[in-house]
Amino acid sequence: ATGCAADGGGTAGAGDGSDLSITFIPKQLNNPYTDVVLGGGETGAEEAGFGATEVVGPLEASASSQVSFINAETQAGTSVIVIAANDPDAVGPALEEARSAGAKIVAFDSDTAPQYRDVFISQVVAKDVALIQIELMSEQIGGSGEIAILSATANATNQNEWIKFIEEELESNPDYADITLVTKVYGDDDDTKSFQEAQGLLQAYPNLKGIISPTTVGIAATARYLSTSQYKGQVALTGLGLPNEMRPFVKDGTVSAFALWDPAQLGYVAAFAGKALADGTITGAEGDTFEAGELGEREVGADGIVIVGPPTTFTSENIDDYDF
Amino acid sequence: MPSTPTPVLALHGAAKAFGPVVALADGTVEILPGEIHALVGENGAGKSTLVKILAGFHQPDAGDFQVGGQPVSFRTVADSKAAGISVIYQEPTLFPDLTVAENIFVGRQPKGRLGLISRAAMRGQARALFERLGVRIDPDRVAEGLSIADQQIIEIAKAISLDAKVLVMDEPTAALSGIEVERLFTVARSLRAAGAGILFISHRFDEVFALCDRITVMRDGRYINTHITSEVTIDKIVREMVGRDIAQLYPKVVAELGDTVLRVSGLGRAGVFADISFEVKAGEVVALAGLVGAGRTEVARAIFGIDPYDRGTVEVLGKPLKGRDPQAAIDAGMAFVPEDRRKQGLVMDLSVAHNAALTLRNSLARFGIINAGAERRAAEEWTAKLQVKTGSQEYAVSTLSGGNQQKVVLAKWLATAPRFLILDEPTRGIDIGTKSEVHRLISDLAGAGMAILMISSELPEVLGMADRVLVMHEGRISAELDRAEATPETVMHAATASALLTGTEVLTGTELPTGTELPTGTEERTR
């Protein structure tokens, strides 16, 4: 599934790392997006030369449910813990304990508070993600009208950051002066709930021109609602989605364009960053660099953030080229 | 012996045990077609158990059972019904949420179009049945809240509507008034004429002798004898039922009376009882007699503070007692042995010791913690005095026999050293041996100066134990009789007398409780 890992035939990592172990703790198991990320992570971990790779995590994405998994990993003496935090603070104390027991902490996908981790592997520059979504939306609604945002959980770190940038951009950029953001709603990354929130939006705001959903579950559910309702083609939809999930809605015209990075790269880079931390090649300080397999060298930016790559825009033209 | 027709139903040597208790050791009865057959015996003789075996509800542990000459073995109630046996149980088995009509026809509702239940047909048939029984009950009201008498009538309607070969009636008349009983008899006789066999259970000998062709006597779970009614006397039947001299069973010692311990004046609760006034003195045993459903238990519960009352006062030793507060009653020196020991008297899963000390739990505690040693000692004292037979104080009471359970209930109340004791059916369903022990105890307690109010449905017990008898009828005290005045006739008359009058006569002079809502459409809803 990971385009990047497949075509490179990457080199196996250093031989001396086989006693190192890495564990991925996603927000929630059994989530398709997560599965793609973890697929990349496992490939990366193998190439980077970890002796043992594990994936553990809660079945429900709640703030505190990740803590006991971190605890168990601490006790198991895992060398690198890679985590996508459901809540930036709730996992903090547990991660501190893991660190003091010698583990290196890599946050990916969704950050923890910066003091609890060594590096954060970010999809893309947060602002870029925000900008591309508002840009796509503006194009589709002709630069004016009411829009709404349908997000994941109200506390999701990454979504909230993007939303913040979107709001700032709407205020500051004169191109978007005629666009008003009327409301933000939350589908909790639950298909049913997102579906009904989408429905409610359209009823409550009859003049709504478009919806931005910066979450894969939300955009798919909204697309499904729009495609089966009278609003199909009338209300624009964009955001971040998985090509495989969105394909039918792009084909039937419900959605004309949406964006995403390659999720597999996220896991892939996280594994290499973990290896570099464990080996002591980097400390997570700004300016540190490490080799991320076939993706080449990566640099740790301000606040310990590593950027993976630019987002891709998917349209009916290119969507068939991707399989994730 | 003349050749006889095949019995429609014949049961021989049926036995049934519940855990350690043998409820029925030799249940035997034969019912001929076109006969009304009485089954008599003391409380706990095993009559209802036998009925439940006929009904297929209990499977006998032993015995031989034939219907229409064919051996049968019922595994479920449905089997028995299918074999043409229709049963009225002693305790009403109505479904409170269903309508009256539906209660009658559950499981065999008349069907109308499309094979669906036809409510109209059901209503019509129910009305026809009630007409036959000469009563008016709205078939469309729910059964919840019906009086015991109405419930009983519905049970009867249900049973006769089955057109069964055998009709079994376990104390159907216990809650009925004279008119209703007469109606029931008319119906029973017509069923007999149509060739059905009827098994009739009653504690009222006048009914048994008026209605039945033959009488089977049971005692202590065993078949004793069967008589042709016209060839036997009440005396003989009673001797066979009791099997011993009454005097020996009721060792009454008249005690010297002391001060008034309990004074009840003008107690009333709308719709349940009214104008209840009486006194009980130290050393006195006052019996509260009456038919089942007369409201005796309700009065006792109100006195003890379990149920509320609207009017009147209760005084213990001259001090007025707060209503609706059993703890206050206990503190004032009252004790109450309730009628249903399984549900009201005991916590079946707790040990004998914990049960016996339950009433003392507050006084056994020091700094809020129960002193386990003191608890055990308190429990042991009374269970030993009453000779409760148990392997250990730590056994759950559910493992004891009924008689021993009743002794634990008595123990737990006597442990509070009460001045006034209410006994509601103190010997219901316990064996004769324990029964006489309980009677001796009652005498001893009265002798020691305790005031006792005893509710009993057993006339011999009432007559044998009481210094004074209060008879209740339809929620009022209809007679107060001295020990000398109290005979089976005077008590029964007071318990039923006014029911023999017509409704209007009963009503004259009855004041309406003030502030009572008059429900609209009552004549439609009720009889």
């Binding site: 601490t74 903090g92 | 035997t28 004898n225 059993p326 730590e394």
Partner: protein
């Protein structure tokens, strides 16, 4: 006929007149040590010990003080709430709103702290919120007399909804570090969380209340039969009311713990915890019909689920297995006793059938027939 019965009960004085002839000389039951060692609670405790032994031997790194620490911190909320829940279920009622009270308390803490109140005030007010929530349940169940299952499904939604109203989608995290570290600190090298002292106190209070006080005796009576309890002077409504207040209070304590342990106050904290608590309590031997159960059994039940949970995570076995194991244990724990009692009833009946005379042996009497 009567001989065959009475020979079995030689010590009874009046066998010939006795309907309730006892077949066996004495009722069966267990006394003293046997009663304690073979009871339902004891079985739970054995199961717990057996599992701990297994985990120590076969699950790498399980046998370490670190386990005690993490395990302790994990089970605290369930352990706390299980205490009042045990008492409530013993009286035959239920409280489904506990997890929502945790959420409401947490939300209240977040908002008040965020508004700049001193932490002492925040804690007191949050605790009061829990108490009021419990009293509200208690009022509806005990005073108005509504079915607790329905009431607490309603307040489950209501309290969680109020939590949302209070804090919305915010999360408050910046609680005083001294406090949050205290909540995860351990007692020296033992690995036992410091806060466990408080939990033990709560457990002891409820254990004593249930097993050693007049109030507790009354609760068993109440759970077995409301009537039986009323007759011995138990104030039914009052007892139930205070139990729900207790439940609200302890749920609030759990909410405070939750918020400070994870240093995160949110409206969705502990959502779904009610079923976990109830499952643990039932597993601990409390009968859903009331009247049966004990605090030691429940503690063993909570710890058993907690330990299995932790061991599975340590062995990196998916939570999927945990869910299935929890469900299966729960079913076995209620089905097994009923199978045992069915078997023993069947054996008892068979014995009775053998010991009772058969009808054919006694010969049917020939009652007179009307001429």
């Amino acid at each position: 006929m009567s001989n065959s019965l009475s020979t079995k009960t030689p010590e009874r004085p009046t066998p010939a007149l006795d309907t309730s002839t006892v077949l066996r000389a004495e009722a069966t039951g267990r006394t003293g040590a046997a009663r304690i060692l073979l009871g339902r609670d004891a079985i739970m405790i054995y199961a717990l010990l057996a599992f701990i032994l297994y985990a120590c031997l076969f699950i790498p790194r399980f046998a370490s003080p670190v386990t005690i620490g993490f395990l302790g911190l994990d089970v605290i909320p369930v352990l706390l709430i299980a205490m009042p829940m045990t008492l409530i279920i013993i009286t035959g009622e239920i409280d489904l709103s506990v997890a929502s009270i945790v959420g409401l308390t947490s939300a209240t803490m977040g908002v008040l702290w965020d508004a700049g109140m001193p932490i002492e005030t925040v804690l007191v007010v949050s605790l009061l919120v829990g108490i009021v929530a419990g009293a509200f349940n208690g009022f509806l169940v005990a005073v108005v007399g509504l079915p607790s299952l329905a009431v607490t499904i309603g307040t489950l939604a209501l309290f969680r909804g109020l939590a949302l109203v209070v804090i919305g989608d915010n999360a408050v995290a910046d609680f005083p570090p001294a406090l949050t570290t205290f909540f995860t600190s351990k007692l020296g090298a033992t690995g036992i969380p410091t806060i466990m002292i408080g939990v033990v106190i709560v457990a002891v209070v409820f254990g004593v209340l249930l097993h050693l006080t007049p109030f507790g005796r009354g609760l068993y009576a109440l759970g077995f039969s409301k009537e039986a309890a009323t007759f011995v002077g138990v104030k039914v409504a009052r007892a139930k009311f205070w139990l729900y207040v207790g439940s609200g209070t302890v749920s609030a304590l759990a909410g405070i713990y939750w918020t400070l342990r994870y240093s995160s106050a949110r409206s969705d904290n502990a959502s779904g915890l009610e079923l976990t608590v109830i499952a643990a309590v039932l597993l601990g031997g409390v009968s859903i019909f009331g009247g049966k159960g004990s605090i030691p059994g429940v503690i063993a039940g909570v710890l058993l689920i907690g330990t299995i949970n932790f061991a599975l995570r340590l062995g990196r076995i998916s939570d999927v297995i945990l869910i299935i194991v929890t469900g299966t244990l729960l079913i076995i724990s209620v089905v097994a006793p009923s199978i045992f009692s069915a078997v023993s009833r069947w054996r008892h009946n068979r014995r009775i059938r053998r010991s009772l005379p058969q009808a054919s042996a006694s010969g049917p009497p020939t009652p007179p027939h009307p001429a």
